[in-house]
Amino acid sequence: MKPKVAFFDFASCEGCQLEVINLEEKIIDLIDVVEIVSFREAMKEHSDEYDIAFIEGSIQRPMDEERLKKIRGNAKILVALGACACIGGVNKLRNEWSVDNVKEEVYGDADIEGNKLFDAFPTKAINEVVDVDFYIPGCPINKVEFAKVVSHLAIGKTPQLPNYPVCVECKKNENICVFELGKFCLGPVTRAGCNAICPQFQDGCEGCRGFLEDPKMEAQKDVLRKYGIRLDDMMKRFNMFNYKKGVY
């Protein structure tokens, strides 16, 4: 029997689900191996009976936390889809400030006190709320990698992510190192699997796929020093998808 698959979204741009839609006619092949039972962005059909749940987005409020826990309870396998779900992504950047501070900046003096829709806590990646079985990283995800993970899961194989840096793919593609173009790049410490798409278009890697399990941070810092990139500038850019309070 085909595994039943459901998609759910939390705080995100829904670009990762769109990337699934961007598989175009290949979605028809996908439907051959799995049965999609819920995909709110594209389908009215919905069922709470599913084997695999794909979660896009990060967790911002108690009501989101509750919803995610319910989904975890229903799903045999839970997969984090994209940077917001996997590592918090850009949503975590606001954790630099207090919740009251960011609310005031965005909603001003509007009366939202006690309104549960606005009841935010600091952003969490989904593994800070529930157990996650697999991760499909990236902002957005790479649809080829997504299709690979789904087909692995459909036949009961464990999907593996590359554990080498973006630099490996970048060198293989014979791109010019973007540091040579005077740009900043997180390629040396970021997990590959995107085919080094940003450096391919002469833009630096921003670390959207998250850092390697054992990133060589000192080596990254050496590279930055060599090219004379300022520490505060570097911190800002380290942070873009991988926010952590304090120093790396």
Partner: protein, 431 residues
Amino acid sequence: MVKDVNIHVKHLTRVEGHGNIYFNTKNGEVSNILWEVDEAPRFFEAFVRGKSYDQLSHLTSRICGICSIGHSIASLRATEAAMGVQISEQTELLRRLALHGENLQSHSLHVGYLVAPDLIGAPSVVPLVKTHTDAVIKIVTLHKFANYLSDLTCGRTIHPITLEVGGFTSIPTEKQLVEVKKQIIDTMVVTGEVAGIVLANAHKLPDFQRESEFIGLTADDHYPYYKGDVASTDGGMWPPESYLDITNEYVVPQSTAKHCKHNRDSYMVGALARFNLNYRHLSDEAKAVAEMFGLEPVCYNPYMNSIAQLVEIMDSLVDSTRIIDQLLSNGLKNETSEVEIRPGRGVGAVEVPRGLLFHDYTIDGLGNCIKANCVIPTNQNHGNIQKDMEAIGPTLVGKPEKEIELTLEMLVRAYDPCISCSTHYLDVKFL
């Protein structure tokens, strides 16, 4: 005794983001009708504070996956206005081409995948793969072409790579542009066929009229997306810098997305607003699509927004060929973006698929953003959706619940809301 109706559509489907519709009647009268947005707020304007000018478009593109190109370009235009950065003719032409790529992608997704199932009577495009194979293939062809054009100009459709302050990190080759132009001609034929399929089912679009105000960019000599002055169908024209006097955002308790109002208690932006304001600048091919559906300005039926999108698909294709011809006749040049850090405040106003988008940044002397404000098309539309629902609600009393639900869902869908954007908020509830 009339039976009371209580409809609650939680997390409306086939729209971007989370919104709910509530519709309740008591003793044969509408007692509650509400458009609620419960999407989680994301606080973009708060976290871009302190970020460098050259990171802003990459951060704010993450407001929305579907219109990330539009957000990037509005962001770049605001940054460039704040810092006094000049761009080349080639950059402007390539950005206009990128906006057409996104308009084509977003409109074909909306008309083909999200709206067409309602017209054909299916829950989603999935069963249509088997029952309406030819139609689905045509829509996929169109959507795929749009993504190809976006990939070519931006490196990637979702969260563009090549767009940067002052220009592009990388541009397509002349050979690629020649190839894309060939494909545009084929895609225009497919668009005509898709319009025919929609026309065959267009009688399902409710004939509902509510006079409202339409706001969008306008220009003297073309149908503008990239730049222009802001105009209203109620009259008046304003520079983008005075956007706060136009949008007048306010917070309502049922929505993490703000609402807007201008001359009346609500207004509409998007394809229908642009069509109503700039019809005279459409290409003959696009006007022919409008004529198929009897669509003329000023049209006050919000359900026709999807048809205006079809018209724009054709027009974006035609205008893309003009842009490519211009680029090829100028000859492509490898340019370097010239940027000098200077403090200032700037506004970028761009027409994106769902309507008029504003980004407003203040940059300090170090090139860091110290204040940001983004006013999103869907925010500008939420108030109008609510007012439309209030107007159409009483006409639905006594109809079967399924029909009421579908009519209200179709209304919200017609606006093609982008709720992630607007909270930077969508559901139908029958309480």
